[in-house]
């Protein structure tokens, strides 16, 4: 309530300094293009927002593809001295004893089982005794672990492409005599080329 006397306005000593908040910067420059730029009219916003949705979708597809093709069993152990031949009409590798044959020796799962040079020196097909014993032992071990199953008789030969046929045939027949008649040769898969 005010009295009958003259109203007394409260004097604010900072009234010249404190003003309502609003854009003021460079407003005093009396040029239109400066005003437009300051007020945000007429020019493009320099901050561009990047749409990440497509990028995330791509990453998700890549992750799913790689997870589907991921194998926890790791790479199949191939002797580093062996250069495998290439072939097109092939099948997938299965779990079986690996017999590696390089220019010097025969190995069963990495353990020496005979000499390639000895077979070459004899000059005729022969049974590789140590290989025979090792494969036979492996077969008996398998049978003791799986008494009610039929033995598949599969073994895989990793043979260097420069090894002569005599050695291949000798190892092949030795494996067959040891109870592994279904012998497979490991190869590198070659991409199919279209017929001429």
């Amino acid at each position: 309530m005010s009295g009958g006397g003259p109203s007394l306005k409260k004097h604010d000593p900072h009234a010249h300094a404190i003003r309502v908040a609003k854009p003021r910067l460079m407003r005093s420059v009396p040029l239109r293009f400066v005003y437009n730029r300051v007020a945000g009219h007429g020019g493009r916003d320099p901050n561009a927002s990047l749409n990440l949705t497509a990028f995330i979708d791509f990453l998700l597809v890549t992750v799913i593809f790689l997870l589907m093709s991921f194998s926890s069993s790791g790479e199949i152990g191939v002797d580093k001295h062996i250069k495998l031949p290439k072939a097109q009409n092939v099948e997938d590798v299965i779990e079986a004893p690996m017999v590696a044959v390089n220019g010097n020796q025969v190995l069963v799962d990495g353990n020496p089982a005979g000499s390639t040079r000895d077979i070459e020196e004899v000059g005729r097909m022969q049974k590789v005794d140590k290989l025979f014993e090792m494969l036979k032992r492996k077969r008996e071990t398998w049978r003791s672990f799986h008494p009610n199953k039929n033995f598949p008789g599969v073994c895989i030969l990793q043979v260097d492409r420069d090894v002569p046929a005599l050695v291949v045939k000798s190892v092949f027949q030795t494996a067959a005599f040891a109870g592994y008649p279904n012998v497979s040769f490991m190869v590198q898969k070659r991409a199919k080329v279209s017929a001429k």
């Binding site: 995330i56 991921f70 031949p85 097909m125 492409r161 027949q173």
Partner: protein, 184 residues
């Protein structure tokens, strides 16, 4: 960035939440990097062979003489391949095809593959879809022949395929030949 609109407005406090996607993208990138590093890029495969070792005869079964099956004898010679179909000791057909000289590591015999396909269509004994047996091929080679050459011939041998009805009723393309080495 990703946001979730859960209403709000009408003077109330806005309920829109912004999800920070940066850690999620970082996680995805780390998974991609890990899987790429641990991936196995070299693919190994196998080519089948069969040593044809006969099992012991079943004493409960009566042995009946059977007509011998036709067998393809494939000879790898110096400058040609010899293809001889035999039924027992009788020669049914005989033909040859040139063996082209191969250089480098990429050994292939596409002409041999075509010829083997034609020969099988003419003489193959197991061509019916329900027949699960394969025609036998015996490979004769010089003892000094390199294994790379043998695999190239095997590759040509297994290039001819036919439809075969499997035990579960499905049909699958299978090679028409099963290979073994000549013992001599």
């Amino acid at each position: 960035m990703g946001g979730v609109d859960v209403g709000g407005g009408d003077g109330k406090k806005a309920m829109n939440a912004e999800i920070n996607m940066i850690p999620f993208i970082d996680l995805l990138l780390v998974i991609v990097a890990f899987l790429l590093i641990t991936a196995v890029w070299v693919s190994f495969s196998r080519i089948n062979a069969n040593a044809q070792v006969p099992g012991p005869p079943d004493p409960n079964k009566e042995i009946t003489p059977e007509t011998p099956q036709k067998v393809l004898h494939l000879y790898i010679r110096e400058s040609e391949f010899g293809l001889i179909w035999k039924q027992g000791s009788t020669t049914v057909s005989e033909s040859t095809i040139d063996r082209p000289e191969q250089k480098g590591d990429e050994i292939m015999y596409p002409d041999l593959a075509v010829k083997l396909g034609e020969e099988w269509k003419q003489h193959g004994g197991h061509q019916d879809v329900s027949d699960r047996k394969l025609d036998q091929a015996i490979l004769h080679s010089d003892n000094g022949l390199k294994f790379g050459e043998i695999v190239a011939v095997l590759d040509a041998l297994y290039s001819t395929k036919r439809e075969m009805a499997l035990k579960d009723g499905k049909r699958e393309k299978q090679p028409v030949f099963n290979m073994t080495f000549s013992v001599r």
